[in-house]
Amino acid sequence: MLEISISKKLLGATGIIDFEVTCTFEKGEFWTIFGESGIGKTTLLRMIAGLDTPDRGSITMDGEVWFDSKKRINLIPQKRKVGFVFQNYALFENMSVLQNLLFAQPHKDISKAEEILEAMGLLALKERLPNTLSGGQRQRVALARSIAQEPKILLLDEPLSALDALTRSRLQDELKKTHEIFKLTSLMVSHDRSEVFKLSDQVLWLKEGKIFQMGKPKEIFLSKTSTSKFSFEGEILNIEKKDVIYVVTIGIDKQIVEVVVDESEVQELQVGNIINVSTKAFAPIIKIK
């Protein structure tokens, strides 16, 4: 169990942010740290890892104090037993996949390293050098290497964001499977809602350096004030009168949709408005592509 209660002044995109988070991460849970960029998600992981120092507070793992500003305790990263995977994770290019794992292990154990590779479907690649691997394979090896470190916690900072959509989706499945096998307490930074939904047991949603919401993804992302289950945030791109109705064109992520609205509603709407568009779960039609 990881208990944190930390505060730090951060320089965010819009100025100084008072970062202040208190949270308990239970053993074996997969957490996502969710929120816009520049609000301290990565800094939170770095503070847990010991790569950044909070101004005040404490970080305790299974009763062992990693950081305490009052008692002036601040363990160095190497003593914290943390596995860290970044977006562009650096593997040792002159070592094979297996050697990369062995290097990371606290006690060199080939059979254990091979077990990890086997569980992650990487055993066939064990003699390969990193530069002969695809981007997806490299990230899987990076993950395997972090697991080989036998960390108490796995920190994943947008590990899949540099990959194409298909590889990303496949690796999300792999990551989920890997978590089910090794049951490591994991904290992943992501701003992709579908990724969060797919992987997380719990979500820590940060806004302006503070906890905005915390809980299971379904509880957090499904609307709490309305019974609409099919709900997206978008931007109004165009409003056009057609016959007696109005058609509003809305950009949602990379998709563009059209919604029919009545004259009485259109008066409140303007091009550029950020809006929520929703319908009941009963209306949409699903087709396989």
């Binding site: 609307s223 709490k224 004030t225 309305s226 019974t227 609409s228 289950k229 016959d243 007696v244 109705i245 029919v260 609205v261 009545d262 004259e263 009485s264 509603e265 929703s278 009941k280 779960a281 009963f282 209306a283």
Partner: protein, 135 residues
């Protein structure tokens, strides 16, 4: 969008599907939803929401119909377009909008002052929390 304030009378849940019965100033209303957010409770207020395009109109109707939400009113206004028309109906002082085909308006010869029945399917009705107390 039509929005009617109502009180929640009954909540019936089975297997993740919820049937909510409400009382409004104009009639009993029914909404079918999946899981209902926990803030919706019996006795609490909710806005009943449905789009104009989900509201059907009938004149001189006889027989029975499966629509759970059935209201009676008087036509206030008909705005005829080429293909679609907007009809406003007064239901005991509440203005309900309906968008139907102009063809239907002509077939039913809908005009000002006509007594009509209107229908909304329960699965097309959304509920929204009433967020402010005094409005």
């Amino acid at each position: 969008m039509n929005k009617i304030k109502a009180l929640i009378d009954t909540i019936e849940i089975h297997d993740g599907i919820t049937r909510v019965l409400l009382t409004s100033g104009i009639n009993k209303l029914t909404a079918i939803t999946l899981e209902l957010p926990s803030s919706f409770k019996i006795g609490s207020e909710a806005n009943v929401i449905f789009k104009e395009t989900e509201v059907g109109i009938a004149k001189n109707l006889k027989g029975e119909i499966s629509f759970s939400n059935l209201l009676q009113g008087t036509i206030l206004f008909v705005n005829k377009g080429k293909i679609l028309s907007k009809v406003n109906i007064d239901v005991d002082g509440i203005n309900i909008g309906s968008i139907i085909t102009t063809n239907a308006v002509e077939q039913l010869t809908l005009g000002l002052g006509d007594e009509v029945k209107i229908f909304i399917k329960a699965t097309e009705v959304s509920l929204e929390e009433v967020l402010c107390v005094n409005c």
